[in-house]
Symmetry: C2
Subunit: 391 residues, 2 copies
């Protein structure tokens, strides 16, 4: 099968010619990498996307997800594709080796993600949110929290979510009503409902780690009084066993075009037995969550790019195969041979428009990732500042 | 239930104030009508749209249409709504009283159609194509053809379709391969396949009259050699009984957003027993069909208007009911009361954009219908010419 996901030549142009990813290898952080390794990664990503992930797309769309007896199950084929994804180390491609990741540049990660998301956006929302949630724990978590949650999220063994929206608190996050009440042991009792939680429940992994915005009893109104909690679907009890943490899936919600992705309405603390672990300080929730929200914004950009990319690749293939009408110079001759529609000027114009827009978006999003890498390897704050305003 | 379909005030503004539909009543053709009657018709249309048609929309979307044992069935609720539509005389609202219609201005018909299509576009495609097909028989058919087919189509007892597209002949209609072979009795044997036939098969009516483009054996290549045939699903035999006319439904095709509408792939003459009746002269098919295609183009415009209209009405209602965030002057006060989102400037801007575009389209489409009426009542060709270029 020809690659109908991403124009390989253009992706390589942006990586190697426009942004010169090899130059990043001159830094200490990326010194062990080389063009050869980047090529190998991209080749492996394309193979995984085409052979393992793309074939699951139709099943996710037609079967969708099922909520039965309070448990959500995803399309059967998603399991093995997710397994391959984790086994290949893709879940932690850009994560520091200190945390068990592979330490590759974000630029390479975004290029690989474009392939995976083009292949099946619904499937990729599960690991996509996981890495964002784990990063919050990397940035703000205690060593215990990192050991207990983050490590398993970076391998993909557990998934993660971000829980912001409530029925009365959408754009107006500050209006949220989910409550946290401090317990004698320093943990918190969580109670409240969240909606539109991507990957809110599923059977891809045995546990799901929710990053939940809630207001601690007595905290100020509005966004200033919001804290963020790690709320696992299953928490460790005193003996280190995983026990149910009272997170209930109320419904699977619909989102157009991503039937394979479980968007859930969740209820925390229905039986008054949901425990959350404060991440960072009290009332720091918005500041902390914004790290994940900004990452999610870029991911949504990649989703747009990926859809545009695979739409263009399919349109291009179809325009070469579909015969309709004669070539324009013989259009009035009913006996003139029919030509593939790519020979018609207006079809070419439309394809060129798709190609230009897609390549422009690709260049912009890869550049945003490149800026992250530049900030990461900057030796001085002045160096970093050059790219910070751009990323 | 408040009217969530069409802004009544604006529809009336265009009918009575902008276009002054009452002025049409000064002509002989519309002399029996009055503002009072137009008001009654619009009131009845709104009632039918809201009470009978709109409630079937969700069922059509969720159940869709079923193809079982070669027969297509529509959503159960469509049957009674269609019945009410026919009983009310809506199928022939703008049709001349000479042909059993009600003879109302097209302008009034388009305003009523906007209500019905807003209520359920998928359902309205069945009668919508019927009136267009019947008009071709009114314009080009013999008296026998009018008596046998047109009369029953104008009452809605039978439905109609337009059959142009074939897999290799989309925009390039001239490339069609459906064949017609003249039989000794002057009728034609029809053989070929058509795709994307709206209302191609269904169980709303006992018979369906297809208007089929085909090439008579030996006719020129391209569009010049195309003729148009009346091909009923069931034809009359010599004793005047309806017998199967060998039209097979191969598949129901998908069209986004109109699951309730049966878009079909049809095969004519699978058993070599499909008979068609030439409409107009040989090789006049394109000229004749263009009457229906032009009407269909305006109908598609009404579909766009109707979707825009009901989308705006729903958005407006939601914006008045949905509380989110405080009023802009107190936006930094977390304790300020939440307001309905219609109070937020950017929401108002979006609603105003929807309202402006919708009302502009409405004015344009009603005006096109008004021009038809003006041409219809014109006393001289100069009078007609004033409006012909605009309609």
């Amino acid at each position: 099968m020809a690659n109908l996901l991403v124009d390989e030549r253009d992706a390589k142009f942006v990586l190697y010619e426009q942004l010169n990813i090899e130059e990043l290898c001159e830094s200490e952080e990326f010194s062990e990498f080389s063009r050869e390794m980047f090529d190998m990664v991209m080749e492996a990503a394309q193979k995984l996307a085409e052979k393992e992930i793309a074939p699951t797309n139709v099943e996710g769309d037609t079967i969708g997800v099922k909520l039965e007896n309070g448990k959500v199950s995803v399309a059967p084929s998603f399991h093995s594709a997710y397994q391959r994804y984790c086994e290949g180390g893709w879940a932690s491609l850009p994560i520091s080796q200190d945390h068990g990741g592979q330490g590759f540049p974000s630029l390479l990660y975004v290029a690989a993600m474009e392939l995976f998301v083009s292949a099946n956006q619904a499937l990729m929302m599960y690991p996509g949110l996981t890495i964002g949630a784990a990063r919050l724990i990397e940035l703000y978590g205690t060593e215990d929290q990192q050991r207990m949650y983050m490590d398993k999220m970076y391998t993909g063994e557990w998934c993660g979510t971000m829980c912001l929206t409530e029925p009365q608190a959408g754009s107006d996050v500050g209006a949220l009503r989910t409550k946290a009440v401090k317990r004698p042991d320093g943990t918190y009792s969580i109670a409240g409902g969240k909606i539109f939680i991507s990957a809110g429940d599923h059977d891809l992994t045995e546990n799901i780690i929710h990053m939940v915005l809630a207001r601690i009893e007595g905290a100020p109104a509005g966004t200033k009084g919001i804290s963020i909690f790690i709320v696992p679907k299953f928490r460790y009890d005193e003996s280190g066993n995983l026990v149910d943490n009272d997170v209930t899936t109320m419904a699977v919600e619909k989102k157009m075009g991503i039937h394979g992705s479980a968007t859930c309405a969740l209820n925390f603390g229905e039986k008054d037995n949901c425990i959350g672990f404060l991440l960072g300080g009290e009332n720091q929730g918005m500041k902390i969550m914004f790290n994940m929200m900004n990452e999610a914004r870029l991911s949504v950009g990649v989703q747009g790019l990926a859809q545009a990319s695979t739409a263009y690749m399919h349109a291009l293939k179809y325009a070469k195969e579909r015969y309709q009408g004669p070539e324009i110079s013989t259009m009035k001759d009913p006996k003139a041979p029919k030509v593939p529609i790519i020979q018609h000027p207006d079809i070419r114009r439309m394809l060129m428009w798709m190609k230009s827009v897609t390549e422009g978006i690709r260049s912009l999003l890869y550049y945003a990732a490149y800026c992250e890498d530049r900030v990461h390897i900057a030796k001085t704050s002045e160096d970093a500042a050059k790219y910070q305003t751009l990323s």
